[in-house]
């Protein structure tokens, strides 16, 4: 089998005595959308933070296209083509669309020492990108993010990841708080991203959204990857839910009867 785009091997992460990740191994192939599922506290977000350079790992290895990498900061990860879109923290609401697209990578006009931004170039790229992702309603690129709808914001964040030719786009709860039509819009951006050659990791609480878009489902429980090759076309939502909770139907019924919610 070809070497996957991303391979994380035996990743451990502990916060003091708390083991957030215990020997988690995980991979993403080229042009693949992987759904990462797990209950709260299963270790999904820690795994993602390790991969995006936001938190250092305690032990384990990360390979990109077979080459071992050391991700010490978010800029390291970005330089390696890993772009993460965090829920709530992807965009700066008070700045314009154009400025958000270039957040952290602002183009500079010559002469360089004056440190002036090339606003014209930023606006032009932004205008094109907005059209590409389907926001065609004549929104000027100077509009602040704060006056966009939730779906439009996700679109801008995804457009940013696509523009900078990242190999892997990590989406943390991209469909949270979105309406039905907006969710469909975001899901189709994700498909577009894959079709144009990007891989994605898709994290969502709503299993139905995950089922609609991903090629493969990975489930985590208590800091471990417990299933990493679930085909959404051959598996039912109920089966995946069982794997997430790690309980049989009877155990779930008993838990509910005890007054303890199952998730």
């Amino acid at each position: 089998m070809a070497e996957p785009l991303i391979r994380m091997q035996n990743i451990r992460k502990s916060y003091g005595r708390v083991q957030a990740l215990e020997d988690a191994s995980f991979h993403v192939n080229e042009r693949e959308i992987v759904g990462l599922l797990g209950d709260n506290g299963a270790g999904k977000s820690t795994l993602i933070k390790v991969l995006s350079g936001a938190v250092p790992l305690t032990s384990g290895d990360i390979f990109i296209r077979g080459k071992k990498v050391n991700l010490r900061s978010t800029s390291d990860a970005i330089a390696h083509g890993i772009e993460t879109i965090y829920q709530d923290s992807a965009l700066v609401t008070q700045l314009s669309i154009a400025r958000n697209l270039f957040l952290g990578r602002e183009p500079i006009k010559p002469p360089r020492f004056l440190n002036r931004m090339d606003q014209e170039a930023m606006n032009n790229v932004a205008r094109d990108l907005l059209k590409q992702v389907g926001i065609s309603k004549n929104i000027p690129p100077t509009t602040p993010i704060g006056s966009l709808s939730g779906g439009e914001r996700q679109a801008v964040a995804i457009a940013r990841a696509m523009h900078f030719d990242s190999d892997l786009i990590i989406l943390d709860e991209p469909t949270n708080n979105l309406g039905v039509a907006e969710t469909q819009g975001v899901l189709s951006f994700v498909r577009n991203a894959r079709d144009s050659g990007h891989s994605c990791i898709f994290i969502a609480h709503n299993i139905h959204h995950v089922f609609q878009v991903v090629d493969r489902i990975v489930v985590m429980r208590r800091g471990k990857v417990v299933a990493d090759d679930i085909d959404p076309k051959k598996t039912s939502v109920a089966e995946v839910e069982r794997i997430i909770t790690g309980m049989s139907d009877k155990e779930i019924r008993d838990a509910i009867a005890d007054g303890k919610p199952s998730h």
Partner: protein, 344 residues
């Protein structure tokens, strides 16, 4: 699932109205207020409009104004620097003592500015390594710096020998015979720093860090370095103001500039910079400090006991805070459907 070439138009994008029409610049309110104030005062007391009086006003506004320029950057980063007034004073005292010790006035002035920047660096290093808000760090360093001023200046008024001091003749001379030199420095820097805040990558990153620090960090912006540089800038501006104070006014009294830090914050708020970060206006702050100065001078003009000026400055600060908050709550109601800023 059918594949689509372009994404479907997004629902929920139609019902949006704010921010799309013609937007008045944020400084509009401050400009109107300043014009109205000057107009009313000129009408009541025509002598107020005397050019000499207006230029003197500009000269008085220049020193706290320089601090306000730096403070806009700090506020835009959603931080507050309380130590600015103390830095101002220590820089003034240090410069004066160096000149007294026989150093070249220009070199001493440079030393004063560098001292201000280094104090800003200390604030910045403490704030970034301890991961504390600058407000907390500077409330401590403020006392320390003030204490140093007292130790170094022995709590006395310092009058640097201005006999041949080229700096002092330059600074106390009024360029073109009317405009105070401090005023020229202030106006030039206000315009330049306005461009820095709105047109350069540094200025933009300051706003990004202030608006959403986590998003900025995740996008690869070195947030610690931005915070550090901004506090160094604040220190350098306070140092520069201190140096000019020593040069222009000739004497440095122990209490000088103690209110400048708060004045700078008030001026920035009046000028449309918000306490919640993410954005600021240097020109607005410059107009803001002029408004404060006009009000203070009006009080003198109408014979109000000068003891009230401290109270008035405080009242202005509270008023500016209240307005900032009310405008913000009102805007949030329109834009986000009642949600407050997630990181407020």
């Amino acid at each position: 699932m059918t594949k689509t070439d372009t994404a479907p138009p997004l629902a929920g994008s139609a019902n949006r109205q704010p921010g799309r029409g013609i937007r008045l610049p944020d400084e509009t309110g401050a400009v109107v207020a300043l014009a109205a104030l000057v107009g009313i005062l000129g009408w009541l007391r025509p002598s107020f409009l005397d050019p000499a009086n207006l230029w003197a006003l500009l000269g008085q506004a220049a020193l706290p104004g320089l601090l306000a320029i730096g403070m806009v950057f700090v506020l835009a980063m959603r931080e507050i620097d309380l130590s600015a007034g103390a830095v101002f004073h220590l820089a003034a005292v240090a410069t004066a003592l160096l000149i007294e010790a026989g150093f070249d006035p220009w070199l001493s002035a440079l030393a004063g500015i560098v001292l201000g920047a280094s104090l800003g660096l200390v604030n910045g290093v403490l704030a970034t390594t301890l991961r504390l808000p600058a407000l907390v760090v500077t409330s401590g360093t403020w006392w320390m710096i003030q204490g140093l001023s007292l130790v170094v200046g022995k709590g006395q008024t310092i009058t640097p020998p201005g006999a041949d001091g080229s700096l002092f003749t330059t600074l106390s001379a009024k360029a073109f015979a009317v405009v105070p030199a401090a005023g020229i420095v202030f106006i030039a820097l206000a315009l330049a720093m306005h461009i820095v805040l709105h047109r350069t990558r540094f200025g933009y990153r300051v706003q990004a860090v202030g608006s959403n620090p986590r998003a900025a960090a995740y996008a690869g912006i070195p947030t610690a370095r931005v915070r550090l540089l901004t506090l160094v800038l604040m220190g350098a501006m306070a140092g520069l103001a201190g140096v000019i104070h020593g040069g222009a006014d000739g004497a440095i009294a122990p209490g000088d500039g103690s209110a400048f830090g708060l004045l700078a914050i008030t001026a920035a708020l009046i000028g449309g910079t918000s306490l919640s970060g993410g954005h600021g206006s240097v020109i607005g702050a410059a107009i803001g400090i002029l408004i404060v100065q006009v009000i203070l001078s009006a009080m003198t003009l109408f014979g109000v006991d000068s003891a009230w000026s401290t109270f008035a400055t405080g009242a202005l600060t509270v008023l500016a805070l209240a307005l900032d908050r009310l405008v913000r709550l009102w805007r949030n109601r329109r834009v986000d459907g009642g949600q407050d800023h997630p990181f407020d």
